[in-house]
Symmetry: C2
Subunit: 428 residues, 2 copies
């Protein structure tokens, strides 16, 4: 029996195991706040309702004492989640050996991150972790149900996708190898076996900038499939995002309430998402008096401005080819443009999806490798995918942390993962 | 329409897109072997059945030519998968630019691994990848359905679980960090928030030995849950393994056939698995005239001998505490024994699961850290989990590659992952 199930047990006696997260007393009555794995709830202890020994015990409860209680579940409109518990009996299962190090008054992020192993126990952080878990299973189920195979790609890689400046180097038996930033090139190899594939794992970026949108260790899902046109890729991503939002709205109302998330914003997320070309996005920016030069990528301010104009995520496609990866196919109608798409989350959360059609012709791909001043030798195996059995294909990557940040409505991406890693943080 | 669906289209005309993987001719008839994402099949091209131009085209098909065919699906008991296709019409979608580098005659593993990006296209390797994908989704669905949350643990870690000798070192902005070998310690932190959790990601071991059971990069799922007794842990692992086998037997008969897997072996995997103590396992070995000394861990030969005695995986519990990790709880009835369990796969595939109950008492845990000559300071955050809100808990890790090797009946673990990493291989 979990706290989240209380609504089905109103006016019934329930048994719950909980961890004390707060307490206040007013003589004849104690208010104990407890958490369990599902939510949190106030336990009202009236002196006349419990055994004197239990009442006395309640006086001395500390933060993170574990208690097993028998209590009456009661509707309480003033409670954040709408319910409270009236204590009947209590047993102490575990007593902390020390005073809890995280004080009730708000602490700074550095202090909290030092205690991340305990901070995650707070209702907000736990709610984010529960939502993250559902985001992951929603994505996997969505892909699995459409016949995609999960084929994970290697983390240790010899060559890099696009230069090594943001790659972490590993001492691999006295040889240098790099931690992969994307599984995409490998996905193309496995797609040419199994058609619909995805990898879903951690990626690593030696990101020196300390922004609220960057971690050195982040997770992404990257589907790839054969005979993919740009619109197929956009449709797949759109469907995935819609599914994520639906699953969260259906199963995580309590968590969204804990996070004070404005769910009306999420309820507006419906397919089809607005789609526009890069050129149209530039025009939109100009109408908003933001001058953006043709040929440059959008930064956070431009992305925010564009996404503010819509209630759903926005798909921007056909960026200038020059600012996109070498493997991205150029538009047949204008080879200055790439058949690529970025999807920007609403409310200024920025890019959550990047993808596109891959160049399947070996001659063009070799040219592009040269133009990008990459070493052809490093890509011979990748070029083999065009030498033998090459067909059109494409896919995208969706960043888990950015998606979770948007769904949860939280400012800094570091709260979207259990143990965030940034340039100055690798502990605990 | 995929080759795996042919059984539902017998004597009907079908349209299939396939990659040529072989060809032989006898004057008036060509036999073309094609693969698609689901399986492979022979296409019979009779001169009198197709347009002369098509027949001529067929003569010149090379390995990895991509063709779209119209053909009659025909039952053919001599075919490995029971069906063949009689060609009616064909269109060539893509022509290889070079001769396929993997010859038809068997090649050595080094040669094949150099062409891993193409080798995975072979029916056997594709079948293994499809099975692996289902093993992963079976595990995830099993845990999700029981209310487990997926909470992934960090890869970058400052301290190690048990020494750093088998850890990979990363240059992290001029600081040394290590790649995690397990998420277990972190799982304990998240379990104390969400009760039932699991992480499922890549793990890294700087394994110098070149055995058929070791990779430097491997995947494991590690569930952890509160109030877990040893038997709960064994039950959860047993249920997971049974589910995996059921899902594979239900959905991957074609792949098992491609792999020539003796499915009768898999059909015998039923709960409850035999369970025995370490002491009983020693006795079993003695009965088989293998002398094993009390207090030592079992090696591959002992594991093989034990597992050969059973049709199901075998659970061996209560190993000597001294050979198990510092955090493993000692048996209350005999503190020389650990409340841990290993599960050995049948047919000599060795350990696929290792787990147990964790010590939840801080005083004992501190003692154990000292006994193992580990640095208490490195574990302060971990000890906090016992200082505050500590309750009994435990879990296990299941190795994906070893499990897939067993299910598929393949000798070397390197074929169970798309791009295997070993001491002397990080490419492609």
């Amino acid at each position: 029996m979990r706290i989240s199930e209380l609504k089905d047990f109103v006016d019934q006696q329930v048994e719950i195991t909980g961890w004390v997260i707060g307490k206040r007393s007013s003589g004849k009555i104690h208010f104990i706040l407890i958490r369990d794995s599902s939510a949190f709830c106030q336990v009202v202890v009236a002196e006349k309702e419990v055994h004197p020994e239990v009442f006395e015990q309640c006086k001395h409860l500390n933060i993170e004492t574990v208690i097993k209680i028998k209590a009456l579940a009661v509707e309480e409109p003033r409670a954040k989640l709408g319910y409270e518990l009236h204590l009947k009996d209590m047993e102490v299962l575990s007593t902390p050996v020390d005073e809890y190090p995280i004080p009730r008054k708000p602490s700074g992020p550095d202090f909290l991150l030092n205690y991340r192993h305990l901070w995650i126990r707070s209702p907000r952080q736990s709610a984010i972790m529960r939502i993250r878990s559902k985001v992951i299973s929603a994505i996997r189920n969505y892909l699995d149900q459409q016949g995609f195979y999960c084929v994970d790609t290697p983390i240790f890689t010899a060559s890099s996708c696009e230069g090594t400046t943001t790659l972490f180097k590993v001492d691999y038996f006295n040889q240098d190898v790099f931690l992969a930033q994307t599984g995409q090139l490998y996905n193309e190899a496995t797609a040419l076996c199994l058609d619909k594939v995805y990898c879903f794992g951690p990626s690593f970026r030696a990101e020196k900038s300390k922004t609220r949108r960057h971690l050195t260790e982040f997770w992404q899902v990257e589907p790839e499939f054969l005979f993919a046109r740009l619109e197929d890729i956009i449709n797949l991503a759109e469907g995935m995002i819609v599914r994520i939002v639906e699953e969260i709205l259906t199963h995580h109302q309590i968590d969204l309430k804990i996070l004070d998330r404005d769910i009306s914003k999420l309820e507006q997320v419906k397919a089809p998402f607005p789609r526009m070309t890069y050129d149209q996005a530039l025009q939109l920016l100009q109408e908003k008096n933001i001058s953006a030069e043709w040929g440059k990528d959008f930064g956070a301010p431009e992305e925010t401005k564009i996404s503010e104009s819509f209630n759903s995520p926005v798909c921007i496609h056909r960026y200038p080819s020059a600012i996109k990866a070498f493997y991205m196919k150029q538009a047949p109608e204008d080879n200055r443009l790439a058949l690529g798409v970025d999807i920007l989350a609403p409310e200024g959360y920025g890019e959550i999806v990047g993808g596109g059609v891959r160049e399947e012709d070996i001659a063009i791909l070799e040219q592009r490798i040269d133009q990008h001043q990459l070493n052809r030798d490093d890509y011979q195996w990748y070029l083999d995918l065009r030498r033998y059995g090459s067909v059109p294909h494409g896919g995208f990557g969706l960043g888990i942390e950015r998606t979770v940040a948007w769904i949860c409505g939280i400012h800094h991406i570091r709260e979207t993962i259990a143990f965030p890693r940034t340039i100055d943080r690798i502990k605990p």
